[in-house]
Symmetry: C2
Subunit: 171 residues, 2 copies
DNA sequence: CAACAATCTTTTCTACTATAATCATTCTTC
DNA sequence: GAAGAATGATTATAGTAGAAAAGATTGTTG
């Protein structure tokens, strides 16, 4: 327990220019959210045989059936290649089916199976009951602060120009 | 909950119970932040030979030298096993050294190399200049909304009991 | 001192993520 | 109708992530 080295690195605690301080704070906040997210995802996997990204994907598929991989990727803010793995796992669990479009065989429509629909219907709350309770207990203002704070962060990081897959029909 | 036998599942657009709606909104906001974070991390890797998790780790190592792997994991909210890979990459880039404690050879103290300190000193802003500008342009209230919103989210997801290793009296 | 417990790091395994390259299919143009 | 562009899904590759288990070392106890 004793601080061993005791070599005098005459290293000042660093000026901490305020900006660095804030960056660190922000960096850690983002990491905490990401870690909590991953953590909960693993817990979910233990209890429900499905991870959070998979559930999010499945929810999107149930919400609107027959979407293409590309569409789904836009919906849940993931890249197309990421979807492949997620869809593979959902398919091997028989929660979705890949249906090739007979008219345009490049496209593959994703439809949920009965089991997939059931799972979403009985969906465990994506963030967990403890979160739901804690969130519900917040004041309206705090709830908005949370949601808008997150969205603001996302906007700022992604840059104002690239705002999701909105109907930007310019190809 | 107990859904009475649904005889009419003719694919209505789904009731969207408000809660589901909000969950989806939140889920996507988190995903957007994570995606933006990863995206920027890759860009950073191209320009600075270091990814965001690596930079965060290195910053922690420079801020307080000689920490053990476990300590650092706590500081940056990662698991111990995750740190191994990050430290491996930092070490192979010769930005840190692993120094075995002579007294307790289980422990390994992480110290930055000169190159590591230089890199942090000349640190590219972790979130990028565009973000910095956009953030600085926000009102004080909005800035706080962003930071506190993120932290609130992390608190709620992690649960109130596990509140990071905040060593208020440590330094 | 030998057996066991505790602690710290690393390895192994699975999953998620993105970019770039590849494959299959359709559309366009001549 | 064939060459080439365009579009959609997938694979290849690499970084990141956590859990579980293994490895190494130290401390404790009989």
């Amino acid at each position: 327990m004793n601080k061993p080295p005791a070599e005098d690195h005459r290293r000042r605690p660093a000026p901490k220019s305020g900006k660095v301080q804030r960056d660190l704070e922000l960096l850690r906040a983002v990491r905490r959210v990401m870690q909590a997210f991953d953590l909960h995802s693993h817990q979910l996997a233990s209890s429900s045989q499905i991870t959070l990204p998979q559930l999010l994907c499945l929810m999107a598929v149930v919400a609107e059936e027959g979407m293409t991989s590309r569409r789904i990727a836009g919906e849940i803010f993931a890249s197309a290649s990421t979807l492949v793995g997620v869809l593979d796992r959902l398919e091997s669990k028989q929660l979705i089916d890949r249906v090739r479009d007979p008219r345009d065989r490049r496209q593959i429509h994703i439809v949920p199976t009965e089991a997939g629909r059931r799972l979403v219907a009985a969906a465990p709350s994506p963030f967990g009951e403890p979160f739901d309770r804690a969130f519900a207990a917040l004041s309206e203002a705090r709830q908005r602060q949370l949601v808008e704070g997150l969205e603001l962060m996302a906007d700022l990081m992604a840059g104002p120009e690239e705002r999701g897959p909105s109907s930007d029909s310019g190809r």
